[in-house]
Symmetry: C2
Subunit: 348 residues, 2 copies
Amino acid sequence: MKLANPTSRDIAEIAGVSQATVSRALRDSPLVRKETRERIQKIARDLNYFVNRNAAGLRTHQSNTIALLLFDETGGTDAEINPFFLSMLGDITRSAANAGYDVLVSLQQLHADWHIEYQASHRADGLILLGYGDYREYREKLAALARANTRFIIWGPAVDDQPGHSFGCDNQDGGYQATRHLISLGRRDIALIGARSDGAPEMADRYAGYRKAHDEAGLAINPKLLRRADNSEDVGYAQVGELIDSGERFDAIFAVTDLLAIGAMRALKDSGRTVPDDVSVVGFDDVPLAAYVSPPLTTVQQNTRLASEALVDGIVGLIEGKPPESALMAPRLVVRDSCGASRGQRPR
Amino acid sequence: MKLANPTSRDIAEIAGVSQATVSRALRDSPLVRKETRERIQKIARDLNYFVNRNAAGLRTHQSNTIALLLFDETGGTDAEINPFFLSMLGDITRSAANAGYDVLVSLQQLHADWHIEYQASHRADGLILLGYGDYREYREKLAALARANTRFIIWGPAVDDQPGHSFGCDNQDGGYQATRHLISLGRRDIALIGARSDGAPEMADRYAGYRKAHDEAGLAINPKLLRRADNSEDVGYAQVGELIDSGERFDAIFAVTDLLAIGAMRALKDSGRTVPDDVSVVGFDDVPLAAYVSPPLTTVQQNTRLASEALVDGIVGLIEGKPPESALMAPRLVVRDSCGASRGQRPR
DNA sequence: CTGAAAGCGCTTACAG
DNA sequence: CTGAAAGCGCTTACAG
């Protein structure tokens, strides 16, 4: 009774029924008499039988698999993957498992061909896209995906005319919360690390929140404190180094990602400045690292568990023909020690 | 010419050849005349055609997919995944892509059924197992996998009589390096966080290295400084808290994982002790966090890129019928500030 | 409630 | 170098 690779036909023979009945029984079809069904299921279990996914998928045109495309913005092969997306990956895998889907992970280069292939080859029923992309390049690729009738959902803000569905956090509100917090602590010369007019829309939104907080407080923005930056620690370090060298006065930094903020703090430390006494720092994302750096980083948290659930719900909805609405998740400011608030410094 | 879901038959019709020839051409078969082959490939490209993996897999009994099983030792649904394994995940995905395999990620509970199913259902050609497992429980599950003729490779040391293949780092040597380093700095009362006789074999090996370094230096081990611990930051915190409360004298800690070390440092800080002046701390793994905690953690690095390549090579070998030899990777001590060596403290 | 049959889209001996 | 044909292991109308 130890078959190496049992098929539904083998089960049928043993159970004394047709192969069709076995197939129905294993899918819990109410068409099969309960008794028969259970007998068949027991035999399958005893034989360690599992439905051949290739055969089933060929018939049904489904894979029950979601492809998760991670965009490695660093481009290099050695580079660490953005820890925020790594956290998402774990949560997405959990959510997908709950929804009955497997997750196929793929690291992609933003400039490379995106795997339209995943769905076209029936390896996945839909895609989740994760990464801070360059807006313009991104757009064209998304259009290609859409043209190929690929089902996909993007982690990120809903951008006008952007093809496809998306789910993201309210980046503008996050940037606003971060900046308002700094202003409320009495900071007036707040550098912005990560302004890129042509860059990822989430960064632009965070920057917009920064501006809004300034407007609201009647504060002018010193354009010399706005630094463009891709998302990496080294860039944060370099930009703050340049800022210091420029001699421009600043007493706070809002970095549009935690990686940038961590690099910024390192630059401040290396130049002999103290965080938060000399300079307050706020980041964005709340990567696992953020709580461990010294001082622990105040940052805008995006709840990866909720986000992952929403993304999985979204793509499953698309697969099942129920398109999700684009929506925004509320971010939350997590106050730690890097801006001085928790030590009661410079209270208003 | 815009077919929604073109098949090889469609290509054949357009190219004016048989479907069999299309199949051969797309697989770059030398049987097909170069001219014909290229013409067919061009048509396929133009039509955005990709071979249906389900159909191909059904024929060939292959999926070109590796399942990566991550054991979430924390058990909880909220828990963070061990960052070391998350790093491995990224590197494994890269290595697998280079070898032409997709990666299916699955979070598993150690106590749950391991998915014999992945291979039996032809969703994956083989498995990579990642996680610190309890030795005894682990063993039985591995045996079940082996009984089902599943191809798998384990990240971890080769344990006698353990079913299956494995690749891991030389944990004993790592533990030895860590401890010898502490001894060379003049430390004599070195607490060991993570001794578990019944636990994961890697921990036992690290502990063995600790003993070896003591033996070699002619130093006795104070059994009261040996603390059992599962791998989590909170446990490290709690164990060091108890150690402090016990009143036992210690001037160094070797934690068998970075998470434990980070928890240990937090406990030391909370009790008013300075790292490394009062207590030197060394961890194990070199998780991304390690360089960022304060002070930066001296630790034993396991090179995740090399490890990932070896694991992927191993499982691909098994799939292709070339069983790999179990092997050990050399770990490397990364000296940072948590033990005082880099500041020239207590030099011998 | 059950069975016989068609067919999903490939790959690969077999024949030429 | 190419084609006709078989068959991988399922799911699901269709018929009873």
